[in-house]
Amino acid sequence: MNMSKIVRSAANLLFPFILVFGFYIVLHGHLTPGGGFQGGAVIATGFVLMFVAYSYDFITGRIGAESLHTTETIGLVLFIVTALVAIVFGVTFFTNWMLDVGPVLNNPVAFGPNPGDLNTAGFIPVMNLAVGIEVLGALSVIVLYMLSGTKEEI
């Protein structure tokens, strides 16, 4: 069942805000506290907020478990492939290869305390994004599965 109109309106307003904030945490993982998991968890909580504000049937009509599952898989594959590409360059699995060859993410870093710059740190932002996508898919789909378990017939 839907919750009251006030809660629904509040959730509608908060949803994009939570998403933006989650992506902010994901992308700034190498600069500020946070990273893939934390941001992914925040975004997933945004989805979970939607699950609670609206009824189960309404939500499954708009956000399918299948698509969330696919999102999760995309994140995982992106993660492992990014790590595997390093092998091609003659270095080992999980080497930060983008630090040397990346066109964008190899800005020179200032050492010691500094204000931070978004496009640094090699593949870490890419990894953050991949894990963020994975976690957001996984955590929201698991809540969706559990909600489906509260229905009378499976």
Binding site: H30, P33, G36, I80, N96, G149
Partner: protein, 94 residues
């Protein structure tokens, strides 16, 4: 009888675990060479300011892959548990 066993178990484990808590020294870890290395070299080797993220994704990236796999596993497991099953699929255990 059983309550006695539970009590003894909890007591002994409490002693052991609490001993572990008291035995470690708070605020002054004895060996810090690995972490010192991360703090002093992490920024130049990975370019990230947040050392924790550097460790999570670069130095110990494989753990992160494993942990993402755990999450994937849990999703698959929950999906299997709540899947729609056919009528004749269940086996009656006697």
């Amino acid at each position: 009888m059983k309550n006695l066993v539970i009590g003894a178990t909890v007591l002994i484990l409490s002693l052991g675990i609490l001993y572990a808590g008291v035995g470690l020294e708070f605020g002054a870890p004895p060996f810090t060479d690995m972490d010192d290395y991360f703090v002093s070299h992490g920024q130049e080797q990975t370019g990230g300011n947040n050392i924790v993220t550097d460790i999570v994704f670069d130095f110990r990236g494989f753990d992160t892959l494993g942990e993402a796999t755990v999450l994937f596993t849990a999703v698959l497991g929950a999906g299997l548990a709540f899947r729609k099953r056919r009528e004749d699929e269940d086996y009656e255990y006697e």
